[in-house]
């Protein structure tokens, strides 16, 4: 028997039981719209790829990482003793940032292409939930090395949940395992980071991808307005997938470049009694909410002001999440201006507060 016939008989055996041919036939009919904005379709795939990188590098780090009192020492060994430990850790840290970045790009492209409209509302909602979980991933992972910077940044970062009126302090205490960031916090964040969050993230991601498969890529309103004969598409298999994979490859290179040229180093071990070093700030993706809350605190003074600020901030996020339900765009091709301007405002606010945040660190 030649290898070809072996392969085909194995395929037949599996196909008979799992129905691969049906899947393949389904995939062959799937198409992706081709237009001037097609570039933005790749960002969901890039986010997915970076998540896979996170799983892979995360499991490798798990082999040597020891939570609790040993946390710092184990990360020191990974970075300065293990062969290529620095590479895995740097790739994990950089891919985390890149993943949040690509999810944000993906979110805004979906927003401006109005891809959240019927029937894709659940895709938008699950995507928002994924962004939320991803940012908690980032926040919990940042503390794990327990160096000076991660310790103080976590302390600052926990100001966000503790600012929630009433229950905020209780939530922050629960996360910290006490009134201060300590070894207990590392243990909790570790459990969150490697068990709880993946358990939430993976099924959500499955649901999100299933929806994408079910409804396909949405074309922007300008494309929808064109007569069917003028719209171009390309088959998902193999054309789009090939390009998607090329994007993954390019992302991998950017990741390798960052991890090699700017490897993540490790600061001094944390010392709760030492004063915080100058310029402590949250990771870049938390800079904007952190700064927004700070600015609202300046504008709206006093306790009532603080509550009003939190409410305003929450209202903005709720409005953002619920966009599919009030921007339904009954007529295709009609650009819902209000939603569009709201989107532009969000991009501007995000960028401006991030810039102000970094500007005022010192």
């Amino acid at each position: 028997m030649t290898s070809k016939t072996v392969a085909s008989s194995v395929y037949d055996w599996v196909d008979e039981r799992l129905g691969l041919s049906e899947l393949a036939a389904f995939a062959r009919h799937k198409t992706v719209p081709v237009h001037s904005q097609s570039f933005w379709y790749y960002w969901g795939g890039i986010s997915l790829f970076l998540f896979i990188v996170q799983c892979f590098t995360g499991v490798l780090l798990l082999v040597y990482y020891r939570p609790g009192a040993d946390a710092y020492e184990s990360v020191r060994q990974i970075t300065f003793v293990m062969n290529f430990g620095w590479l895995i850790r740097s790739a994990h840290a950089w891919a985390a940032s890149l993943m949040i970045f690509s999810i944000l790009v993906h979110m805004f492209s979906v927003y401006f292409m109005k891809a959240y409209r019927k029937p894709r509302e659940l895709g938008w909602l699950s995507g928002m939930a994924l962004l939320g979980v991803a940012s908690v991933f980032g926040f919990s992972g940042y503390l794990l090395p327990m160096d000076e910077l991660s310790y103080f940044a976590t302390k600052v970062g926990l100001q966000i949940p503790s600012a929630i009126p009433g229950i905020g302090e209780a939530i922050a205490n629960m996360l910290r395992g006490g009134p201060d960031v300590s070894d207990f916090t590392v243990q909790r964040f570790f459990a969150l980071h490697v068990v709880v969050l993946p358990a939430i993230f993976v099924p959500l991601l499955g649901f999100h991808l299933w929806l994408v498969q079910r409804y396909g890529n949405a074309a922007p309103p300008s494309e929808e307005a064109k007569p069917a004969s003028e719209r171009k598409t390309m088959p998902f298999l193999p054309n789009f997938l090939r390009k998607d994979l090329a994007m993954w490859l390019i992302s991998l290179n950017i990741l390798a470049l960052l991890a090699s040229v700017f490897p993540w180093s490790l600061g001094k071990p944390f010392d709760p009694l030492a004063p915080a070093p100058v310029g402590i700030h949250p990771e870049w993706y938390f800079m904007s909410p952190f700064e927004m809350l700070k600015l609202l605190g300046v504008v709206l003074q006093g306790e009532a002001g603080e509550i009003a600020g939190i409410l305003l901030f929450t209202l903005g996020i709720v409005l953002w999440i619920l966009i599919p339900f009030y921007d339904r765009g009954k007529e295709f091709g009609q650009r819902a201006r209000a939603a569009h301007y709201f989107g532009l405002l969000a991009v501007f606010a995000l960028l401006a507060t991030t810039v102000i945040g970094y500007w005022t660190i010192r």
Binding site: F80, F152, R242, A246, L252, A276, I280, R362
Partner: protein, 491 residues
């Protein structure tokens, strides 16, 4: 020492050469590979049956040769001259040694270079104006001339890494040029030539894909498909042969220097010279990606291959070239000319003498250190007027002896606050600690880990003290700046 120091803050002198050189290598190796690509492509077109495809190929090649002419004859030439300026200013000692050995090498290269420039201009302007067969011949002359520029410069570049025992035996005797051919065909000459030839072919394919990507695949599907596919094939020899040639190349490099590649496997600790491993890893990943992108996006999907894909390929090639050239340069550490001249310009056999006489004893450019004995020592005829002028400079030093030693001995690789910053690398050390570190570099014991990538610190005890004082003033400024307001977690 015999030349003034060109101090480049933040960036460091190495990067002045590096930036120009990476840019130059990208273009000049394209000039060599493209030199082969053009006549071969023209020959292929001429052998096609008469028809629209043949005409389209020839038209496209004429367009391509214009792009080629502008890129290589303008940017390649200018950046090449830029390298001369840069190396002469940043590393005069090494440049001087190279010129003394290879002046005829460069003269030969210059001849081929002139032929190259002339023929490419003729080649471009005579499309359709002379007999096609003659035109093709012009292309072949260009290919030959440009190949020879590589064949020659490769000897000089590889000499710096592995000058070879025969040349080293006469080094410093004044008869170095008598061993020209030994120095030229040094141990890494052949692997490097094959390696660079492969890279040239790959670059020819990648640059050709830039122009091919701009053909409209819907309007001229046949032209685009055939040209893209043919151009991708230029990457094949490179990616089949490169791994083997690279092993051969590394085999010819002295083991002590080859070992530099493994310094960063287990650590990224500062001062451990781990960067070379990390950069070398980039060559592997970018090269592998180029193969993947070229195969999947170009070869399998030629009609949809667009300019942004081609630019992605080019950027990857730039990364690979940059990483490759950087690694090659780093592999030479602690020398600039293997086993003969340290990377800060100190010749290996001169170390003992400088340790006795002092590092600045022969530096006529450091005015504050001037005294009559130096002029005598250097056997320079100094007029009384000049001497008065020099003495007057000496009374107004523009910088300290310590700074002069820093610029001379450390400045080739380090800056104070920018690239490889000494202020950061020495941070946390007090004066005594800095002094013991410098003394350790001075003693250069066989088991010192720094021996693997750093030259010794040469000079007298006074020199060590001067350098210590200068560096200490940078690392631990005497009057600390006002403390910045602390931002604590509470607010």
């Amino acid at each position: 020492m015999n030349y003034p120091f060109w101090d480049i803050p933040i960036l460091g002198s190495g990067w002045v050469i590096g930036i120009i050189a990476i840019f130059h290598v990208m273009i000049s190796q394209f000039a060599v590979g493209g030199g082969l690509y053009l006549p071969l492509a023209e020959r292929k077109a001429m052998r096609m049956p008469e028809g629209p495809l043949r005409d389209a190929w020839l038209t496209q090649l004429a367009v391509y040769s214009k792009f080629f002419l502008i890129l290589t004859a303008v940017f390649g030439t200018v950046s090449g001259v830029g390298i001369w300026f840069a190396i002469g200013l940043t590393h005069p000692e090494a440049t001087s040694t190279l010129i003394h050995n290879f002046v005829f090498g460069w003269a030969m290269e210059w001849v081929f270079f002139l032929v190259e420039l002339t023929t490419i201009a003729v080649y471009y302007t005579t499309w359709g104006k002379i007999d096609p067969k003659l035109h093709l011949k012009v292309g072949w002359v260009y290919a030959g001339a440009s190949a020879f520029t590589l064949i020659i410069i490769n000897g000089i570049l590889t000499f710096m890494l592995t000058p070879g025992d025969t040349w080293l035996a006469v080094a410093g005797t004044g008869h170095e040029a008598s061993k020209f051919w030994y120095a030229f065909f040094n141990p890494t000459y052949w692997p490097s030539l094959f390696l660079r030839t492969c890279v040239c072919c790959a670059l020819a394919g990648i640059w050709a894909l830039i122009t091919a990507s701009r053909i409209d695949g819907d309007k001229q599907p046949e032209l685009k498909t055939s040209l893209v596919k043919w151009s991708v094939k230029w990457l094949v020899p490179s990616f089949v042969a490169t791994p083997f040639i690279l092993i051969w190349y590394l085999w010819m490099v002295p083991a002590s220097q080859r070992a530099l590649l493994s310094l960063g496997i287990d650590t990224i600790g500062s001062g451990t010279f781990s960067v070379i491993t990390r950069i070398a890893l980039l060559i592997i990943i970018t090269s592998a990606t180029i193969v993947g992108v070229a195969y999947f996006l170009a070869y399998r999907n030629p009609r949809d291959f667009n300019l942004s894909h081609a630019i992605a390929l080019l950027l990857l090639a730039l990364m690979a070239t940059g990483a490759g050239e950087y690694s090659r340069e780093m592999l030479r550490k602690p020398y600039v000319i293997g086993r003969w001249m340290f990377s800060n310009g100190v010749r290996v056999p001169y170390v003992a003498r400088i340790n006795q006489e002092g590092y600045l004893a022969h530096s006529m450019w450091v005015w504050n250190d001037y005294d009559e004995s130096h002029a005598k020592h250097l056997e320079i005829l100094v007029s009384p007027e000049q001497e008065r002028q020099w003495s007057s400079y000496a009374s107004q030093p523009s910088y300290s002896r310590g700074e002069a030693i820093f610029r001379g001995e450390c400045g080739s690789c380090h800056t104070l606050n920018g690239y490889r910053p000494l202020a950061k690398l020495l941070a946390g050390r007090d004066q005594a600690n800095i002094r013991s570190f410098i003394s350790m570099l001075h003693d250069y014991k066989p088991d010192s880990p720094y021996r693997r990538f750093m030259p010794p610190m040469v000079g007298t005890k006074q020199d060590i003290d001067d350098l210590t004082n200068f560096l200490n003033a940078q690392v631990n400024p005497p009057t600390p700046a006002a403390q910045k307001p602390m931002q604590t977690a509470q607010k």
